[in-house]
């Protein structure tokens, strides 16, 4: 029996007259890597933001471990164990790399209103931060201001911030966006190592098909706001309908 950790039930999101997400249901199994793909304008980013709580759905619900979290604000979701990354690099630019990650590690603790002790004296969080930086390969740059990192470094930092509080579900929004191609394998290796350590569920919105096909257990394909297909990577790449939305019908008719 596969245990569902995150579930979307008949989610719908309307912006004015535009229905961006139309009645999409989805179950994410604990411990799996679940990717959401689709052509531009398919509504996958909107759907993703409904899961993360950035948008409130027009209709439908989101469940986490059976608990209705549809209306839980961003920070509540983080406390429940759902972490998200951002498509655009979204860090604290003028703080050091270490401080960026330490803040994330500290977020779940009960020390946030201790005004009197130095933040550095809570060594657990510093250790945790350094551990995560080690994992993503940024340990040597811990003391640099985050904004002087190169782009690839910022993407890694983004991931480190996400991992630091040790969330159970990781929602990754196009982690390879804007990455130079030679940096992608490194990122994939990191995702693989997160998987290997176990206990984590990953939901991925991604365009890079190499990443999606090699990393995912389950792939959900969206088109025009609707759910089009769901299956293993092999099933999806063999699926005629999916091929046609990606390439257009003509190619398959002729080829």
């Amino acid at each position: 029996m596969i245990e569902t950790i995150l579930e979307a039930r008949r989610l719908r999101k309307q912006f004015g007259g535009l229905v961006a997400v139309d009645d999409v249901s989805l179950k994410v199994a604990r411990g799996s890597v679940h990717s959401i793909i689709g052509p531009n304008g398919a509504g996958k980013t909107t759907f993703f933001n409904l899961l993360t709580g950035l948008y409130k759905p027009t209709n439908g619900q989101v469940f986490y471990k059976g608990q209705d979290i549809t209306h839980a604000p961003l920070y509540r979701r983080a406390h429940l164990g759902i972490g998200r990354s951002f498509q655009i690099t979204n860090i604290f630019p003028n703080l050091t790399v270490l401080e960026n990650v330490r803040l994330a590690a500290q977020a779940m603790s009960n020390i946030n209103f201790r005004l009197w002790r130095r933040a550095e004296s809570y060594t657990d969080f510093t250790h945790r931060a350094l551990e995560v930086l080690e994992l993503v390969g940024l340990r040597d740059m811990a003391a640099l201001p985050a904004n002087i990192l190169p782009h690839g470094g910022k993407r890694k930092l983004e991931l480190a911030i996400l991992l630091a509080p040790d969330p159970e579900v990781l929602l990754l929004d196009e982690p390879t966006a804007g990455m130079a191609s030679e940096q992608v394998p490194e990122l994939m290796a990191t995702i693989a190592s997160i998987r290997q350590r176990g206990g984590k569920t990953i939901v991925l919105v991604e365009h890079n098909m190499n990443v999606v096909m090699s990393a995912s257990d389950v792939i959900t394909v969206m088109n025009l706001g609707k759910l089009l297909a769901e299956g293993t990577p092999a099933e999806i790449s063999a699926n005629k309908t999916v091929q046609s939305v990606y390439l257009g019908e003509l190619y398959n008719v002729e080829g």
């Binding site: 007259g17 191609s181 990606y246 257009g248 019908e249």
Partner: protein, 237 residues
């Protein structure tokens, strides 16, 4: 280097957005009277290429020539005035303005709109019906038509069209394809399109962009038979 037959010649441009190195050497040549399509996966840099030509995200390196005149360093409005029409992604029409006002604003000279009204209504009859309604009341497909029509109001030598078929139902796409083909008789078109079928029905030439670089170019006909290339850069698997 420059080919007199090319309306647009983009050579090895590099573009940064903030610290993102988005384009790392993109070259595109658009022959006069052709429809050229930029292909590539999401995030490859197709939209940024159009925006760089338009001057909205100016390139830091490389050259862009419009009929031999350099566009690099010019502001977007000057580039537009030189005869470049731009149809951005997501149909950036002015929703509070009426259809007519959306077209009026695109005039570069008095009388532009009068001269073109007939042609535009012939291409997109819906626009005539909703001429005085706010653009925001139009359907997605009609908004896309309006966005294209807006680029047709002045005399443009080059049209840049970003993802015309995005998020549209198949019937409407058919209509758009027909309209854009009619257009090509009047102007040169550089198109970004994700849908391979739409692209192959429309375009004469293609340029594939992958990871911020242009990696292949040629006649669209040849690409249709090059399954390996298509799957490598565009396919699902």
């Amino acid at each position: 280097m420059t080919d007199r037959n090319n309306v647009l010649e983009v050579q090895a441009i590099h573009t940064f957005i903030g610290q993102f190195h988005i384009l790392e050497g993109v070259s595109v040549a658009v022959p006069k009277g052709s429809i050229t399509v930029l292909l590539g996966r999401n995030g490859a840099g197709k939209t940024t290429t159009l925006r760089s030509i338009m001057g909205l995200t100016p390139p830091s390196q490389g050259s862009i020539l419009l009929d031999g005149q350099s566009l690099v360093g010019r502001r977007p409005y000057t580039i537009a005035q030189m005869g470049v029409g731009y149809v951005p992604e997501h149909r950036a029409i002015f929703k509070e303005l009426s259809v007519r006002e959306n077209l009026v604003i695109a005039q570069r000279q008095r009388g532009d709109l009068e001269r073109r009204t007939e042609f535009i209504f012939e291409l997109f009859p819906d626009l005539e019906r909703f001429y005085h309604l706010p653009g925001g009341n139009l359907s997605g497909g009609q908004q896309q038509m309006l966005a294209i029509a807006r680029a047709l109001v002045p005399d443009n030598r080059l049209l840049l069209i970003d993802e015309p078929s995005e998020g549209l139902a198949p019937v409407i796409i058919e209509h758009l394809i027909a309209a854009i083909r009619k257009l090509a008789a009047q102007a040169t078109v550089l198109l970004v399109e994700q849908n391979f079928r739409v692209a192959s029905l429309l375009a004469d030439r293609y340029v594939i962009i992958d990871d911020g670089q242009s990696v292949a170019t040629g006649a669209m006909q040849d690409l249709r038979h090059d399954e390996a290339l298509v799957h490598k850069y565009l396919g699902v698997a």
